[in-house]
Amino acid sequence: MGTQAGFWRWAALAIPLGVLVFFFALPNALLLSASFLKSEAAVLTDELTLENYREVFESRLFRGAILRTFVVGVGVGLLDVALAFPLAYFLVRTTSRWKGVLIALSLAPLLASVIVRTYGWYVILNRNGVINESLMGFGWIETPLRLMPSTGAIIVGLAHALLPYAVLTLMSALNAINPNLERAAMSLGASRLRTFVHVVLPLSMPGLIGGFLLCFSIAISAYATPAILGGPATQTIATQIYVNMMTLLEWALGSALAVVLIVSSMAVLLLTSRVGAKKAAP
């Protein structure tokens, strides 16, 4: 290998790391240091204090938001993986000539999300919306269901928007599984279902976990969908960060919320990667 190759290796690593440090870590560290400053009517003073953090942990609203954020993250991750798995498996194994088109179409929710969440979900989920009208039309319910705002609506809306990420991640993983393995199992007498459960599922576990983690990470920092599909009773950390940073201009409190978000989600990820590493070690 030699030191020359080693030098180039480190140089190649230094540039992307430098970009991340300079354009991500540094500006965020500077901004979030405001969480340790006292704020008077939205203006930062020079006084150091922990009262912003105390407010985050003492307020029922913020504690609820923290919990809900992780519930949403896990819910979105699970729902997306559950929906993406059949879709990804189909797209990988299908021999239809529309395969390419179907794959491209699966990216659609990601690109449409801004307007869709503002309007499309409203039309579907509101009291006189498509779902309630159909359910009542079939006579299955008598009074309209209150589908939004709710934590469930947030999970569905975010899962919709982030589904493409799970689909493509799973497709990567699934395609690495040699189809001959499945054929071999079936030629030995296993039904398609048994093959799926005992051959495909275990082999696609890294893809499932990867897809879950990706959707989880993006869901917990998402602002716009929870803002529209949630209400005062269903706040997440990201919506509270937005309200404080962009509307109330309370940057000290907003920064404290952001710090709590990133630290807790890093902790969760660290935990799951340790667990995942133990499981993956052959």
Partner: protein, 271 residues
């Protein structure tokens, strides 16, 4: 061998997949249909039929930001895979102290709301005296940073699926140490690189919260313009614009897909 596709489980799978596509497209089609309203009100189902809002959606007022977004997203994707590939190598192949920290740093931009990074970057540019960089340069820096995790992740997945001994085998056959990297490994991770590029492209194209802070007049991504419009109410023009901002990037991605092999780019060539 594919006659198993006629079996019960496969048919059940097809129905499930069809259901999922309905879930995917129902909100999109509903929103798109609003664009055909006769009057300037966002009614669903639409009343009357008119294409005038589509006429407005194709005006320079909307096409310029769309083009800007496409350019920005393309450049972001290219830079992200260039920077992300070495980083992915380091994270999957090397063992070094601080590896967890680097992994966390790489995942950070995904978990931090883009709004916060945007405000922080605007502050940073101001402190560093780079006022003039607000606009395309600042946007590019911000977009690269928030999209980099995708590139690293996709290339990483590709690398994990690739056996280490490919490089060793090549070297035992006489290849110099650094040749395995370029000539053998790169084609094998090609699919991860393309996937990472597509993810980065889409993430950059759809970002709005970071872009609000770093945009300058004349250098505005289309998502920011849409958001500005939304503050004053939803309108059929916006519905039309949203369809265009959905279809155009899909076409771009489709072209990339076709160029690099029909339908094959997103998954590794295990065959």
């Amino acid at each position: 061998m594919t006659n198993s596709h006629a079996s019960g489980p496969w048919r059940a799978l097809r129905w499930t997949v069809a259901g999922i596509y309905v879930f995917v497209f129902a909100p999109i089609l509903i929103t798109a249909s609003v664009s055909f309203n006769e009057s300037n009100r966002s009614l669903f189902p639409p009343r009357g039929f008119s294409l005038r809002w589509w006429d407005r959606a194709f005006s320079p007022e909307w096409l310029e930001p769309l083009l800007f977004s496409l350019q920005l997203a393309s450049l972001t994707a290219a830079i992200c895979v260039t920077l992300g590939t070495p980083l992915a190598f380091a994270l999957t192949r090397w063992r070094f102290r601080g590896r967890m920290a680097v992994a966390a740093l790489t995942l950070g931009p995904l978990m931090m709301p883009a709004l916060v990074t945007g405000v922080g970057l605007l502050q940073l540019f101001q402190i560093a005296g780079a006022r003039g960089s607000i606009g395309f340069p600042a946007l590019l820096a911000g977009h690269v940073v928030i999209s980099l995790p995708f590139a690293v992740r996709c290339v990483g997945i590709s690398l994990q699926g690739m056996p280490h001994n490919v490089e060793l085998a090549a070297m035992s056959l006489g290849a110099r140490p650094w040749r395995p990297q370029w000539e053998i490994v790169l084609p094998l991770i090609k699919t991860g690189v393309i996937a990472g590029a597509v993810f980065a492209f889409v993430h950059s194209f759809t970002d709005v919260n970071l872009s609000i802070f770093l945009a300058a007049p004349g250098q505005i991504p289309v998502t920011v313009k849409i958001m500005g419009f939304l503050e004053f109410g939803f309108a059929p023009t916006l519905a039309a614009v949203s369809v265009i901002t959905l279809v155009v990037p899909l076409i771009v991605v489709g072209i990339v897909q076709w160029f690099f092999g029909l339908g094959d780019f997103i998954y590794g060539d295990a065959r």
